[in-house]
């Protein structure tokens, strides 16, 4: 099923399917390694709509909550 990044559980892995947003945002994420067809793993999620940290290609990235909602991920549930 496809959910957004904020709905993933810590430790859960999934495949990025879509990034919604302006070109600048999509570009920046892409160049940090987050783009469709990539496998990402959620590391942690901070309280009260805080940043979401994910791991992609051995590197951790912190993504703000609002941004994370626009990253759609397919997970096996």
């Amino acid at each position: 099923m496809i959910i957004n990044l904020t709905q993933m559980q810590p430790g859960e892995a999934g495949i990025v399917r879509e990034i919604q947003g302006g070109q600048g945002f999509v570009r920046k994420l892409q160049s940090m390694g987050v783009r469709p067809e990539k496998k990402i793993t959620k590391v942690s999620s901070h309280f009260r709509r805080g940043p979401q940290t994910i791991e992609v290609d051995n590197i951790q990235i912190a993504v703000g909550f609002g941004m994370a909602k626009r990253i759609l991920v397919e997970v096996a549930r």
């Binding site: 920046k28 160049s31 940090m32 901070h46 940043p51 940290t53 051995n58 590197i59 703000g64």
Partner: protein, 572 residues
């Protein structure tokens, strides 16, 4: 290609450009383990046989189409031409190659440095360098900036750098191409999680991360204090009282109290003796304040900061603080300028370049300029107010911290727009290397001695001249209504406010000889932190956020200082 005139070091953030720069030029630059350490380009020289080439450390960028100020600097530099050494993080080949392909589409000659090569081994990554070279069509040299491995080969092969001028492709095409290249040249083997990686995870998960953050901040605070106090009590204080004082007493007798030179060099004798914190001569207080009171704390602060920076802790703190910082109109990464500002506000304000938008830069710079005391000032407040009891020191910092939050809340509420969200790479933990930490500490200390010490001496000289010419009396007379009626300070305190434009440490020190009550001392120290940053900070502020925003910021400073002074005077 024969004559290389300009070499650009281009790469993603935190891939070790500054370490390579430092290796190539022998120049001393600040290197840390977090993205955005270099926000301004740094230049150096490299000897290539007979010729000398200009070499530029370009701020890290993910793309040649800029999304923030630091990236904008990078893009402009690349357009100006030269030879590009593309620094690539070997542990992150795929992502880094995107910028490489963009460079290859430009007409700039490129050579690739496959940096952090030593890290690939224990991360279970193996890269076929020869194949990568074939795929890219430009030289590829494995390097390790921190140890210096591969730097010689990099220089030797520099003339082989080639401009590919590949046809411009879309992002999607580039990623597809990169996918193929990586599949061809890189092999990953499974490996077990190391202790550091377990620690990485623990310190980024909120349930364990927050206690760890509190623990680290608490420990850092006590270690800074312990080392600072230890250095003062065991080294600097004895040095001044046992060695320097007897010499000065002889000089004092020689010059004769009351002479002009005695006044300038030694200052006033307190009950017939030199008092290092009250005499206010160039050789007495002028040296004592920067060296025996401030330097020890600068040393201990930058030692701990350097360790935290190189370990890679700061970006994690930024993520943990993100929620809180949003209330102030900033995102978590803005914590980095604040932490640097605790050392000195000049690098602090410069670091606001890592923030994307004008609004958040303005908020960060304003809060930094008037809400965050620098280490020179902190040391003096601890030294001076601490004599009246530690709780008063705590009170001052509590007031400043509360004000910082209130100012942030107010600015966030009334400035149009919202705070952008954090999007940052979190570097892996690395064990700090002794030589790297010592080198950085030395650079920062010598920076303090070269830039701050002369200003302190100038400040002391300036005050003495103003006193001699009775100019202080004139200002004291004019500002007496504000100082005495509103803030409850003696009108002579104006001298501290005047010197505060130049140096905060001397300014706080000048409150010493005024025989203030504890309440007055608390009010005076607080106002000195609020009304205006020192001139060096102010100049950087103008450069970074522009005159208009600086003026807006100045108005906030003056209003806050006036209001807080009145408030404290009536409630304390």
């Amino acid at each position: 290609m024969n004559n290389i005139e300009k070499i650009l070091l281009v790469g993603n953030p935190n891939v070790g450009k500054s370490a390579i720069f430092s290796r190539l030029t022998g120049a001393k630059v600040i290197i840390s383990n977090y993205p955005g350490t270099t926000v301004e380009f740094t230049q150096g020289k490299l000897k290539l046989g007979e010729e000398t080439a200009l070499i530029v450390d370009v701020p890290g960028t993910y793309t040649l189409e800029p999304t923030c100020k630091a990236e904008d600097v990078a893009c402009r530099m690349v357009k100006e031409g030269g030879v590009a050494i593309n620094i690539v993080d070997a542990t992150n080949l795929e992502r880094n190659l995107h910028l490489t392909l963009q460079l290859l589409e430009d007409d700039i000659p490129v050579i690739v440095a496959l940096n952090m090569w030593d890290d690939t081994k224990h991360r279970g990554i193996s890269i076929d360098v020869k194949k990568l070279e074939e795929q890219l069509g430009v030289p590829v040299v494995p390097t390790c900036g921190l140890s210096g491995e591969g730097i010689k080969e990099l220089i030797e092969r520099l003339p082989q750098a080639k401009a590919r001028s590949l046809p411009v492709s879309s992002d999607a095409q580039k990623w597809e191409k990169i996918g193929k290249i990586v599949e061809e040249v890189q092999k990953l083997t499974h490996r077990h999680h190391t202790l550091l990686e377990i620690l990485e995870d623990l310190s980024i998960k909120p349930l364990t991360g927050l206690p760890i953050a509190l623990g680290i901040i608490y420990c850092a605070f006590w270690v800074v204090r312990f080392i600072g106090e230890g250095l003062i009590g065991h080294i600097f204080e004895p040095l001044f009282t046992k060695l320097w004082l007897p010499l000065l007493m002889k000089l004092s007798t020689l010059l004769g109290e009351g002479s002009f030179l005695h006044h300038i060099l030694i200052g006033n004798l307190i009950e017939g003796k030199i008092d290092f914190s009250q005499s206010f001569g160039l050789l007495t207080t002028g040296l004592y304040v920067p060296i025996a009171m401030v330097l020890p704390y600068i040393l201990s602060f930058y030692l701990i900061l350097g360790l935290l920076e190189d370990f890679g802790y700061l970006p994690r703190l930024a993520v943990l603080m993100d929620n809180f910082m949003h209330h102030l109109g900033l995102h978590g990464y803005a914590i980095i300028p604040f932490i640097l500002g605790l050392g000195c506000k000049v690098p602090g304000v410069l670091a606001t370049r890592i923030l994307e938008e004008r609004r958040e830069k303005f908020i960060a710079a304003t809060l930094l300029a008037i809400g965050v005391p620098c280490m020179a000032q902190i040391a003096m407040i601890v030294g001076l107010v601490g004599q009246r009891g530690g709780k008063y020191v705590v009170l001052i910092f509590l007031i400043l911290f509360l004000l910082l939050i209130i100012k942030g809340l107010v600015l966030n509420r009334f400035l149009k727009g919202t705070s952008p969200e954090i999007l940052v790479e979190i570097p892996p933990y690395r064990i700090p290397q002794v030589t790297a930490v010592t080198k950085k500490l030395w650079m920062r200390l010598s920076g303090f001695l070269k830039e701050a010490l002369p200003l302190v001496l100038l400040g002391v000289l300036f005050v003495n001249i103003l006193y001699t010419l009775k100019i202080i009396d004139f200002f004291a007379y004019i500002f007496a209504p504000v100082l005495t009626n509103l803030w409850g300070l003696p009108k002579e305190a104006i001298s501290a406010l005047i010197v505060g434009f130049l140096r905060k440490d001397v300014a706080v020190g000048m409150l010493g000889p005024l025989n203030l009550t504890t309440k007055q001392l608390v009010i005076g120290s607080t106002i000195l932190s609020l009304y205006f940053p020192c001139i060096a900070t102010y100049m950087v502020l103008i450069r970074e956020i522009g005159i208009k925003d600086t003026l807006r910021s100045t108005i906030i400073m003056l209003v806050v200082a006036l209001g807080v002074g009145i408030l404290l005077n009536s409630i304390l």
